[in-house]
Amino acid sequence: MSAVVPEVEVPASEDVLAVTEDVWMALLGDDAPLLPRTVAPGAPFDVAAWSAATTISGGWQGVVTVELDEALARRLTMRMLALPADEQASDSDVADAVGELVNMVGGNVKSLMPGPSVLSLPAVAAGRAAFSSDSALACRVDLVWQDAPVRVSVHVPQEGPR
């Protein structure tokens, strides 16, 4: 996909990073820092993953996606649900937790952009994220938490003839 970022306002990577750090801190505490991860431009998320997306529509249009490592998604879920260590989070629990994660990140990205806009309910997948061919990557933040990768990306509608 050739990314043709249209002449629209897009969130700054550092703002998306700040939003993600705030959400992370609230959900997982500050036991370990969320660190930058170097990934080549255009590289797909390279691990078994859970992904979730939420769409912002109205005064600003875009899709916010979070992808995270399978083990990390389960740890996040265990933490959010306060499950004991000897219990397993079900796939349904993981989908719920990852959905809430993208809801929080997406809602806060929405607040950075012109409004009024509406945030969709999250769509969650056990697997890598799928992106619409008529969208362009506007911003991507690659991070790692305790050796587990996390990616937040923002796509906007692509300009030009469809």
């Binding site: 649900l81 306060a82 719920d96 937790a97 997406g106 806060n108 929405k110 009024p116 309910l121």
Partner: protein, 123 residues
């Protein structure tokens, strides 16, 4: 004190439940506004509702307007707990009858502070 936690995310309900349970609240839960209204019509009327905005079936804003339209529930305190952080939305919710507004992500202290401001827990 009784709190009803209204959020479509089980994980978020769990987080909020732990916070208010630590304050000795009894809790009930609903996954959307309509389920919460159904409970209230069935007699489960809490002292405070912690209400998400974006939910399927009935969103939090509609829930607040429905609660405020029923004079029998005028003593129910309504607190939005949501990612909706546009000023316009906050004003809408407060105008519709929400007493307080907390933006996700939040710390447990933020919830406790708001409940204290509302006089629902000792300051």
């Amino acid at each position: 004190m009784r709190a009803m936690i209204i959020d479509d995310s089980r994980a978020m309900r769990s987080i909020l439940r732990r916070i208010v349970t630590d304050l000795d609240f009894e809790t009930s839960e609903a996954e959307h506004g309509q389920a919460a209204l159904d409970q209230m019509y069935a007699g489960v009327v809490p002292d405070v509702c912690l209400v998400d905005w974006n939910m399927p079936v009935m969103d939090g804003y509609t829930f607040i307007t429905e609660v405020r339209a029923n004079p029998e529930w005028r003593d129910v305190t309504l607190m939005m707990v949501t990612t909706e952080s546009e000023q316009r939305q906050i004003v809408r919710a407060l105008a519709a009858g929400a007493h307080e507004y907390v933006i996700k992500p939040f710390t447990p202290d933020a919830i406790v502070d708001k409940l204290s401001l509302l006089g629902l827990v000792p300051a």
